[in-house]
Symmetry: C2
Subunit: 465 residues, 2 copies
């Protein structure tokens, strides 16, 4: 049941945020964010052989969200959306030039954006970032410049700066050849290891997170644990090697599940589980082209890099013992909603000086009403390809990810009823012209809301590449 | 933990079955068998919008079997396999002439077959059959001639004897026009209603089953509840109409889930839940051609009528409070194993005068060892198309169900590692020639074990059709 928090007005230095609630009322927030984990990759989301008992327990005792969306279908824009509560197109973090940031990128999340940790600091939160960043690796873009008190992690994807171009990435992972990827490990803003030994990266992220929980348990705190895996190349600790009957991908997911168990145990041991909301989710769908090193979107169509459901609907579990209305939430939610939800639970309201694309999910969390998210916009780079409102999703353009194929304009748009047909198999556009018209208007109005900003993903350190 | 039952020899009239155990040690058995329910149709098997809380609870407290196979990929042979513990090809119940029995069929399950109720009667079991039969509707083939003390149900598929050929089956279901299907409802061997009012069929099957549980609670008993749904046309009780956000198919599944809850409640009320093994499963995969009136195989490839996994791997839940080792069983099991498992739990051993294709699943049920099922044979009609051994499945012939397309011979066979690749996406035949050779030999040896019998599905009441 919700605690109805009184809301007062207060102008903060960075922006205007309203808040209230005394310190001991403020819950802690932990976001556990996987990289390329597919909708069907957890046992509780239907995988037959990958074992995820810790996540399954959290889902059974808490909430399993079955229509929860990442903010985008690839890494960098998805993360920008999560941390700002704004579609990445608004911050220059979605682009038609490059889909994500690379080691030669000169751009990153602009300082003008308000991130979750920045918003929460207004309410006295301590903040920690552990894991993959991918919102700019130059010093001015690092987590410590975006509201996090500390950072420990790899600042971009684990397959970048690849040295061994002769051997396939899958074989390198099988050989556990982490040295083929010259990726740095940072402590705050300092490089402490290069190449990062990825065989122990999940374990080390977990240990760092548990340490932070114990340091910050006086609360309130926000911990953002963004795993580098199961993005390829796959690595896991020796004790997880060949542990899963599902193969190397299963090993990696089962180590992440172990990690979730460690976090849950640390919260329990610190006696703060009842004042900590844990959100577990993924940055986008599975990378389907990588054979058995990629995951599965389950019954959903397509995967990472696509505006079909498999690209952006992600397996999501929320846990807050004694607070959440336990059960399955099939209404919509998104990583875009976390900022507003957290700020609201901290006793405030969202920044009002900018367009936000999120909603406060409290009614759905506490069972007091439906989810306030009624729409979702699906971008491919800087282009709007699809819109969902209620159960209906219209595709104005379709595209199969990671194949050399041109996007296909759809006129009339393809229309699917996602609650009846989650696999997007039965196009019902001819039966519902009024809904198609409504979704077209919605798309048009949305496009008009987008103001031009500098493309952060197009900028490169070395010109002319 | 298993009770180790001493086994003695005793020759019964019908056949030689060994048994022991005193009456009060004998558990009750309930099989709840759905029609065309797909692997991905339950919440606990990954469906985002269909709600199945009763089944999910049974799965969480009992066992969720994730590699459990129906005996065939269509109705009649699948049911023959379940009730006899023998592949339907051995009883003449798999055929290249017709895939299932029809109202003009003259054949049925031969009297020479030993069914589960017949085997259990040797140990003093009362037996009841409720629901769809589809193993012969002429009197000599009815449940009451095959070991069941009583029968209440529709003797074949709910879409048979269709009167209204102008209107589509989907529209008829939407109109709730049950009278368009002139199917009989039988009480034992007597027709008591025609056309059966299918809008109340799930409710009436459930009420009959609860009545039987109360009548027979002194035990031991075997109840076989074979739902007529979610086979198309879809019907449900008024109180389930528009109840599911997943649409009419969701309504139907949610009524079946309600029914499971009623069975569980009746067992609890009768105080026999701790001596009753409940097995919930399906006769084959989803009928994919029927738009949103058909289910989903989740992450599995293809559906009903196919030897791909989606055709035969079915969502399976086993419950026996206080007895089963709770958890997820990803090792193989099959409806072919139920006869031997039940007979063993009743204190006996299986008939020895014939070839059986089942195994006693007790080690997996009680956590004392691996599942004894190591192989599975996949038939299309009377032809062996695929073989699984351990995680490897070889397809010697492939076929897309319900399309006008010839079966495609595969040489070399396609090979998949199902534990790593449950969706059968990555053919690894060139990397594993020794495994392919082993599976070929296994198929050859299996084919040799099949003795010619009369084709029961080819026989018609009216000649020349």
């Amino acid at each position: 049941m919700p605690r109805i928090l009184p809301i007062f007005l207060l102008c903060a230095a960075v922006t205007c945020i309203t808040f209230s609630a005394s310190a001991d009322e403020k819950p802690n927030f932990i976001v556990i964010f996987c990289d390329d984990l597919g909708y069907g990759d957890l046992s509780s989301f239907g995988h037959p052989t990958i074992r995820t008992p810790h996540l399954d327990r959290l889902a059974a005792e808490g909430q399993k969200w079955t229509s929860f969306y990442a903010a985008d279908n690839v890494c960098t824009p998805s993360r920008a959306g999560l941390l700002t509560g704004r579609l990445p197109i608004r911050s220059g973090m979605a682009s038609d030039v490059r889909r994500v940031l690379f080691p030669d990128s000169a751009g990153g999340l602009p300082a003008s954006e308000i991130t979750i940790p920045e918003a929460l600091k207004e309410f006295g939160y301590a903040t920690a970032c552990v894991g993959k960043w991918h919102l700019g690796h130059l010093p001015e873009f690092l987590p410590t410049r975006h509201g996090f008190d500390s950072y420990f992690g790899i600042p971009y994807s684990n397959d970048m700066n690849r040295l061994d171009r002769e051997t396939s990435q899958l074989v390198l992972a099988e050989q556990e050849n982490f040295a083929a990827y010259d990726v740095p490990l940072l402590r705050d803003e300092e490089e402490i290891e290069r190449p990062a030994d990825q065989r122990s990266i999940t374990r080390r992220y977990t240990e760092e997170s548990v340490k932070k929980i114990n340091e910050l348990k006086g609360g309130p705190f926000f911990l953002y644990l963004a795993h580098s895996l199961p993005h390829i190349p796959l690595f896991r600790a020796p004790e997880f090697k060949d542990r899963s009957v599902a193969g190397i991908y299963g090993d990696v997911i089962e180590e992440i599940d172990w990690s979730v168990g460690e976090i849950a145990a640390a919260l329990k041991e610190a006696d703060i589980e009842k004042r900590t909301l844990v959100v577990f989710t993924s940055d986008n769908g599975p990378w389907l082209i990588f054979d058995t090193h990629g995951g599965t979107a389950g019954l959903l169509r397509e995967g990472k890099g696509s505006t079909w459901e498999g690209g952006q609907r992600v397996p999501t579990v929320m846990s807050w013992p004694g607070k959440l209305a336990p059960g399955i939430v099939s209404e919509m939610g998104s990583t875009l909603d976390l900022l507003q939800t957290f700020v609201s639970l901290a006793g405030g309201s969202a920044p009002e000086d900018r367009t936000l694309d999120g909603h406060d999910l409290s009614p759905a969390l506490f069972g007091t009403g439906p989810s306030p998210r009624e729409t979702m916009f699906f971008y491919q780079g800087a282009q709007l390809y699809a819109v969902r409102k209620g159960p209906y999703k219209a595709h104005f353009t379709t595209y199969t990810s990671y194949v050399k194929q041109k996007p296909a304009p759809q006129d009339p748009p393809l229309l699917y009823h996602l609650d009846h047909d989650p696999s997007e198999r039965f196009n019902i556009t001819t039966k519902h012209s009024e809904i198609v018209a409504e979704l077209k208007s919605l798309a048009e109005a949305h496009r008009k809301s987008i103001e031009p900003v500098e493309d952060q993903l197009a900028k490169r350190i070395v010109e002319g590449q």
